[in-house]
């Protein structure tokens, strides 16, 4: 299966390599660099690249390429999924997954990779098990370790690997037992220039943070389970209960995890909570263009629209933009022609707007396309699909429950 792994940073340096079978020379990455050169954007590097003797499967996250070397037939998604799992684990361990973080913790990284794969086949990928084997580095522990010479490697044996609930640590104990569930929903919508929705779909996840003693068995039910069109679960959720009764029944892992993600079909009409009034024009013959953008909330059920971020890829002919935001700040990158406007919160009484002029390159003709505008925003305490949870603590009393939601429009 997975032969070797190379981590390559944005400037094309291999800064980490790990081999699970015999050593593969790092020159194999040359094929990757070739493909990278051909691709105009970093995202455009094809995920699967054939070379004469090997196959390279790569993922790009946090501006680091994780390149796995494969020698024979294996489902590409298998490798891709695993690589993403590696990134998630790094993020879980170090908080961020950057080149610096990986270099600083190279020993832990190596230990993790050693545990995650055996001979190229995934061995332990559950974060609960890994944390039992290798403790995540904290500042305090690093200090203690350097002084006392004790280790990051767990003293106990990974009993979780043997149990039928491999995702849960054994012997969990808390004085305060609590469980939190976050419902996060994202709307993904394409809206045409006249403002009508072309397609919109809702993707939701329920993230949980469960800190409960022992082996709690929880059930969770929805007010309106039929809303959920398509669901995927953490392995702890019992498929059968869901199929039969639309109830989530599970023994949760300890700590943070994603309980389920769901999809609300695009057949249902989705109310987009913001609108954009735009007027972006270029006059023929003149080297000036007008830019006028106003945002406003709609159907937010009284909730505030926050962290609004507008970005737009302006046409190549635009030299610079001279704009005046009514609130927030804007930046225009003259190289990438990317305009970003950090709006902040939308005040329904005084709608944020961005107005001004754009200067075109002298002699450049009028761009024939209108730029697309991407808007990202968040609304707390609102689930756009109407998803609601009931909680039924089975063995324990849940202390509190919080819910927040977030929307993103692209």
């Amino acid at each position: 299966m997975i032969h070797s792994l190379f981590l390559i940073n944005a400037s094309g340096d291999i800064f980490l390599e790990k081999h699970w079978k015999s050593v593969v020379s790092r020159s194999v990455c040359d094929y990757f660099f070739e493909a990278q050169e051909r691709a105009t954007e970093p995202e455009n590097v094809p995920p699967v690249i054939p070379t004469p003797h090997h196959y390279l499967i790569s993922v790009l996250r946090h501006r680091i390429y994780f390149v796995a070397v494969i020698q024979s037939e294996v489902p590409p998604l298998f490798v891709i999924e695993f690589l993403h799992r590696v990134v998630d684990t790094f993020q879980d361990y170090f908080g961020v997954c950057t080149e610096a973080a990986i270099k600083d913790n190279v020993v832990v990284v190596y230990e993790l990779l050693e545990e995650m794969l055996d001979n190229g086949f995934p061995l332990a990928t559950e974060s609960n098990i890994l944390k039992e084997l290798i403790k995540p580095p904290t500042i305090l522990r690093t200090m203690v370790n350097t002084i006392t010479g004790s280790t990051n490697v767990g003293e106990q044996l990974p009993t979780g690997q043997l149990s039928v609930v491999p995702w849960r640590r054994t012997g969990v104990k808390y004085t305060n037992n609590e469980a939190y569930f976050d419902v996060v929903e994202e709307i993904d919508a394409i809206i045409d220039k006249s403002g009508s929705t072309i397609t919109a779909e809702i993707q939701g996840v329920i993230d949980a943070c469960v800190k409960l003693t022992g082996m709690p068995d929880l059930t969770l039910s929805f007010m309106n389970p039929r809303l959920l069109d398509d669901v995927s679960f953490h392995p702890c959720v019992r498929f059968k209960r869901w199929e039969a009764e639309r109830i989530l029944s599970f023994i949760p892992p300890d700590g943070n995890f994603r309980l389920l993600s769901y999809h609300v079909s695009s057949q249902n009409l989705v109310a987009i909570p913001v609108y954009v009034k735009h007027n972006i024009t270029f006059r023929e013959g003149s080297s000036q263009g007008r830019f006028d953008l106003t945002l406003g909330p709609k159907q937010t059920m009284g909730k505030a629209v926050e962290s609004v971020l507008v970005s737009s890829q302006l046409p190549r002919g635009v030299l610079n933009a001279n704009l005046n935001p009514s609130q927030g700040t804007y930046t225009f990158d003259p190289v990438t022609k990317l305009l970003t406007w950090d709006v902040g919160k939308i005040n329904p009484q005084k709608l944020p707007s961005l107005k001004g002029t754009m200067n075109l390159q002298a002699g450049a003709s009028k761009p024939d396309e209108n730029p697309t505008i991407n808007i990202q925003f968040k609304i707390q305490q609102m689930a756009i699909s109407g998803t609601q949870l009931h909680t039924h603590p089975h063995t324990l009393q849940l202390q509190s429950q919080s819910s927040s939601s977030q929307l993103t429009t692209a």
Binding site: I14, E17, K21, S22, V23, T40, N44, P46, I70, Q71, S72, E73, P75, P76, L77, F78, I80, E81, V107, V109, Y110, E111, E114, D118, N119, F121, G149, T151, L162, V164, D192, T199, Q203, S221, P225, R226, L227, D229, V231, S232, F233, P235, C236, R238, F239, K240, W242, E245, I251, H263, S265, S266, R316, S365, D368, N374, H390, H392, P393, A410
Partner: protein, 1100 residues
């Protein structure tokens, strides 16, 4: 990991270390010399060596950490081997782990020194702790030193029979490592694999199948006996193992089962809608070509289906490809939704999934058409994602949606990503050729694009127009003229070449322009690209043949230029053309045919998907993704014409008992899984059985009408079978499925003989009807049937494995059996209304028959609990559609509180349609419904409703035990009205009669969170028993439980959809208050029911 082991043999370890140390002095000096060249490296490593040899743990650890850093950067640290290997027996876990990392990395290069560490591992292999054994085996097998192959072999064999499944798992991994080290060990390793394949642990399954795939993927015979076990364990295997197992089973199934596609081969496209709307048709088809799916084949499909909901995208994809390659065509579409869900995942995942969807969408448009919008391109997508989406959209295009797609394409053409815009133009071209209705529109659109400012867009348009014109032999001289005008402004060589080619090909249609273009070309010939030059020569030749008067000189000039061109292709071409067209004494017969050669009508290029040929690879594989055959790719074989002997998968009767044994020891989840599945399996088999049997059952009914003797024969056969059934009943599900198989064989032998249990009841009822008609059953026949039922039920409950309400299941079973028996007889008599095979207990009642049944079951079966139909209380009618809004059509509905005819999980709804307009209404039927997943049995279309007339129709709705409204459209010939039925919570329940003790015992099981209670105030008029029950029954469709306690009133029911018990207790207190308690698993329902009851009791 293996530290603790080594605590025990510290001494041995120390000895080894000393040895290693002595050795190291000699080698280190030599290696030091070797590396002396790199003096800095040498020095640095020297100080590491010192640290490693010190006595301080912390120093050693620090040194190892730095060494690991070196390794991670790909720097050579092999000269430190002797110093490092000494620490292999260290006490410090982390230190030891790092030493392992080092060892595995460099052992290959320092084989002799590596041997020093072996003894440590050999000792650890015997450690009492399973983790230490496993870790020792893991490192030992990772050291790629050929000398230790025998030691590894021995260790693997030993570990394969270890008591701990974790060690066995590690040994499965070690098999692959040893195999890659020394392929000569194959035979011995296969033996170990065979042994491990028999393992019942979910931990081992994935790893051993992986080893199987690596070592001996062709030894399919090893799988036979483990096939069913693997299918059943699949849900509980860890996700990575699932992927490997599913892929292996796909290959296996293709060699072992016959194709399920034959029957519906004709309906390759749009099969889904077809089957959904008209399952009766399907029935007819089955009769024509009987295909019976092997139960093992079905088992695989059924057990993989829930994995579509895995969070692991690789698992979802694996299941999708399994369905694609194995499932009957009409079942494949269940994977669509999950695949579309994956599109929300990471970019790389999207890429692979889209590739697979692209291949699928070529063959099966219908699967993805409803999700077309999910493939709309977003501005943030990467280019390769965009191109793939485009590909899929083009594949999905048909007459109905082409306008939407083209509108979308128009936006894409304007994209700033020019590569993508060019791909869009290609896609438009493909749409234009595939769908003749829009060819002209597309062509016009493309011509407009010719005036686009962007060069690549124009060039691509020219190329596509060229192809389109070629496929369209009609007059398009306008377009050609237009292109000739643009010619001066186009600089992209490919586009210029395309225009020139068009000019030449259609020079007779543009007789004035073509020579002029040639003239221009003659001027710039030397500056053109090669491809343009070639086409210029072509154009010249063609013009010379058609219009030699005007172009003779020009042609000669160009041919002369070409003759001295730098490029030999052009020189060659020029010479060839000159010989061909210019008549001379040397040129022979060819000259005569020059015209026919050059101006032959050319076949139009076929614009087809780049994914056209990808279906030769198994979906989801690396080969498919790259469209090349990768090393180690296992070809998916074609279906065998005749299925190999299915009995090879049979396992001895004792086997399944063992198989379930470990799962009993497991925690709750897997156990209930198994239960669910074996249970489900049983039911499903019944369902599917009844589906496939319909043909024979109808034939049996036909025969039973005329011959009593045959039915007698059948029943006697049944008796035999019954006894054999009961003998086997203890053998669990495994046995029962194998049994069904043998029965299936029997069926093949004699078609009319009933193959399954449910059939046997069918035959019984057939004989009953034959003798006595449905109303009066002789006691003997019913006794017989009940005896067979009992054996059935005992078998069922055995294989069903004890559910929490096992007792009730057992008790209700006879009743259910009676129903299903009735069902089959009904099938014979009434017009056939098919129950979908997925419905577990498909039962069809008519109310009159039902009452008979009730009498029957009450007299014969000593059951304590039944679902009954007894319901009284006022029937509330709700308005569905007012005649004002319905343009004269009004509709009212009520819940008749009868078991639904169509499916037991549906709630029966009676709808009264009235025509209050002055004209007759035609074709009243049900249209679209939402949510789309809503399971509704529609009433038959009312062809005509005269003014003033009203008609009562019944429909069934599966509310899934929720009070969410069912929305659908009520359509007449002209109009559509959106209506919705919102059930009161009480209507989602069916009454269930039970005796008081049963009630109490059930209630005890439903305590805790399953109990909802409240103290309620009662209207004074309400306190009498009759009044209370009247009020309760008006709210909820429950049955009264007779009780001798005066202050207690009990009611019992089951939810319609899932059959969960709903128990209502009302305890009267003083001063018109009462304690109302509802026990049910459906807590949401409970609280709603409580609210409704409270209100009802308070009001009246």
């Amino acid at each position: 990991m293996s530290t603790t082991a080594l605590y025990n043999d510290q001494q041995g370890g120390a000895e080894a270390a000393v040895e290693a140390g002595q050795e190291s002095t000699a080698t280190s000096s030599s290696s030091g010399a070797a590396f002396g060249l790199f003096s800095t490296d040498f020095k640095k490593n020297e100080d590491l060596k010192e640290m490693l040899e010190s006595n301080k743990e912390s120093l050693k650890l620090e040194a190892m950490k730095r060494i690991v850093q070196l390794i991670s950067k790909g720097k050579n640290a092999s000269d430190l081997f002797p110093a490092v290997v000494k620490n292999v027996a260290s006490k410090n876990i982390e230190l030891k782990k790092l030493v392992y990392v080092y060892l595995v990395r460099y052992a290959e290069e320092q084989q002799d020194l590596a041997l020093l560490s072996i003894s440590t591992f050999q000792r650890a292999l015997k450690d009492p702790n399973q983790f230490i054994r496993a870790s020792a085996l893991r490192v030992l097998s990772s050291i790629r030193v050929p000398i230790i192959v025998p030691i590894m072999m021995l260790a693997i064999k030993e570990a394969a029979s270890d008591l701990s499944p974790y060690v066995r798992k590690t040994s499965a991994h070690a098999i692959q490592k040893l195999y890659s080290l020394d392929a000569d060990q194959k035979e011995q390793l296969i033996e170990v694999i065979e042994k491990l394949l028999k393992d019942k642990s979910t931990l081992v399954a994935g790893s051993v199948v992986m080893a199987f795939e690596e070592v001996c993927p062709d030894r399919i015979d090893l799988i036979h006996r483990n096939y069913r076990k693997l299918c059943n364990l699949l849900v509980d295997v860890e996700e990575w193992g699932q992927v490997v197992i599913i892929n292996m089973l796909t290959r296996y199934a293709r060699t072992q089962f016959t194709s399920p596609w034959k029957e519906d081969g004709i309906f390759d496209e749009n099969e889904k809608a077809f089957y959904d709307s008209d399952s009766e048709e399907k029935q007819g088809q089955r009769e024509a070509k009987p295909y019976i799916m092997d139960p093992d084949h079905r088992l695989l499909l059924r057990n993989t289906k829930p994995l579509l909901q895995s969070r692991n995208t690789a698992v979802v994809m694996a299941v999708a490809q399994l369905y694609w390659h194995l499932a009957p065509k009409h079942e494949v579409s269940i994977v669509t939704k999950s695949l579309v869900r994956l599109l929300r995942s990471h970019r790389e995942v999207q890429y692979v999934v889209l590739q697979n969807i692209a291949t699928m969408s070529i063959q099966r448009k219908g699967m993805f058409e409803p999700y077309m919008k999910s493939f709309y391109v977003r501005s943030t997508d990467a280019t390769h994602i965009k191109t793939l989406k485009l590909e899929i959209l083009t594949n999905l295009a048909n007459e109905a949606n082409i306008s939407t797609i083209l509108r979308e394409f128009q936006t894409y053409v304007k994209s700033q990503d020019k590569a993508f815009a060019a791909a869009t133009i290609q896609a438009i071209g493909r749409c234009a050729t595939n769908i003749s209705e829009v060819t002209d529109t597309c062509l016009n659109g493309l011509v407009l694009l010719l005036s686009n400012r962007d060069e690549t867009v124009v060039a691509e348009s020219v190329v596509v127009i060229k192809k389109l014109l070629q496929t369209q032999p009609t007059q398009h001289s306008d377009i050609i003229k237009h292109m000739a005008k643009l010619f001066d402004n186009i600089t992209v060589p490919m586009a210029r070449a395309s225009i020139l080619w068009l000019m030449g090909e259609y020079c007779e249609r543009v007789p004035k322009i073509a020579p002029d273009v040639l003239r221009k070309m003659a001027k710039t010939f030397t500056a053109e690209e090669d491809i343009v030059k070639l086409q210029t020569v072509n154009l010249a030749a063609k013009l010379y043949l058609t219009n030699s008067k005007q172009t003779k000189l020009l042609t000669q000039y160009i041919l002369n230029l070409g003759k001295y061109d730098q490029n030999y292709d052009i020189r060659d071409r020029t010479r060839f053309i000159r010989q061909l067209i210019v008549p001379s004494e040397k040129s022979g017969a060819l000259n005569k045919y020059a015209r026919r050669i050059l101006l032959a009508s050319k076949p139009a290029p076929v614009l087809e998907s780049a994914f056209k040929d990808r279906d030769r690879f198994q979906l989801g594989t690396l080969s498919h993704s790259l469209n090349i055959k990768t090393t180690g790719y296992q070809e998916l074989s074609d279906w065998p014409a005749v299925a190999p002997d299915p009995s090879v998968r049979n396992v001895e009767v004792i086997e399944p008992v063992q198989e379930w044994a470990p799962s009993l020891g497991k925690a709750k989840k897997p156990k209930s899984d198994d239960k669910f599945y074996s249970d489900d399996e049983e039911k499903d088999e019944e369902g599917s059985g009844s589906g496939s049997e319909d043909s024979s059952s109808s034939s049996s009914s036909g025969s039973s009408e005329e011959s009593g003797s045959e039915s007698e024969e059948e029943s006697s056969r049944d008796l035999e079978k019954t006894s054999s059934d009961s003998e086997k009943s203890s053998s669990g599900s495994e046995a029962s499925s194998s049994e069904s198989e043998s029965q299936q064989k029997e069926k093949k032998r004699a078609k009319k003989v009933t193959p399954r249990k449910s059939k046997q009841t069918a035959a019984d009822s057939g004989s009953d009807e034959n003798g006595n008609g449905p109303l009066g059953k002789t006691s003997s026949s019913s006794a017989e049937s009940s005896s067979s039922e009992e054996s059935d039920s005992s078998e069922d409950s055995d294989s069903d494995s004890p559910a929490p309400q096992k007792k009730t299941v057992g008790k209700t079973k006879p009743k259910v059996e009676v129903k299903s028996k009735k069902e089959v007889s009904l099938l014979d008599l009434d017009d056939f209304s098919p129950a979908p095979p997925s419905a577990p207990k498909s039962s069809v009642f008519s109310s009159s028959l039902l009452s008979d049944l009730e009498g029957l079951s009450l007299s014969n079966v000593s059951s304590a609990m039944q679902v009954t139909t007894s319901s009284f209380g006022p029937v509330k009618t709700y308005e569905l559609l007012h005649h004002m809004t319905g343009k004269g059509l009004s509709a009212k509905y009520h819940f008749p509180r009868q078991p639904c005819l169509y499916q037991p999980s549906m709630v029966a709804v009676q709808v009264i349609l009235t025509n209050s307009s002055d004209h007759s209404l035609e074709e009243i039927h049900i249209g679209d419904r939402s949510p789309a997943s809503l399971n509704v049995h529609c009433f038959n279309t009312v062809e005509r409703l005269e003014p003033g007339a009203s008609v009562s129709v019944s429909m069934g709705i599966d509310f899934s035990d929720s009070t969410q409204a069912a929305n659908f459209q009520l359509c007449t010939k002209e109009d559509q009205f959106s209506v919705s039925i919102q059930p009161a919570v009480g209507e989602l329940v069916m009454p269930s009669t039970m005796k008081e003790p049963d009630f109490c015992s059930e209630q005890r099981k439903l305590m805790g969170m399953n109990e909802t209670s409240a103290t309620i105030a009662m209207a004074t008029a309400n306190t009498s028993k009759q009044n209370i029950s009247k009020q309760v029954l008006s709210v909820a469709n429950v049955g009264v439980v007779s009780s001798d306690q005066n202050n207690l009133q009990r009611f019992a029911g089951r939810t319609v959809s899932s059959g969960a018990l709903v128990l209502v207790t009302l305890e009267l207190r003083e001063s018109s208050t009462a304690l109302l308690t509802i026990n049910t698993e459906k807590t949401v329902m409970a609280s709603m029911l409580l609210r409704d009851l409270k209100q009802a009791l308070y009001q009246a």
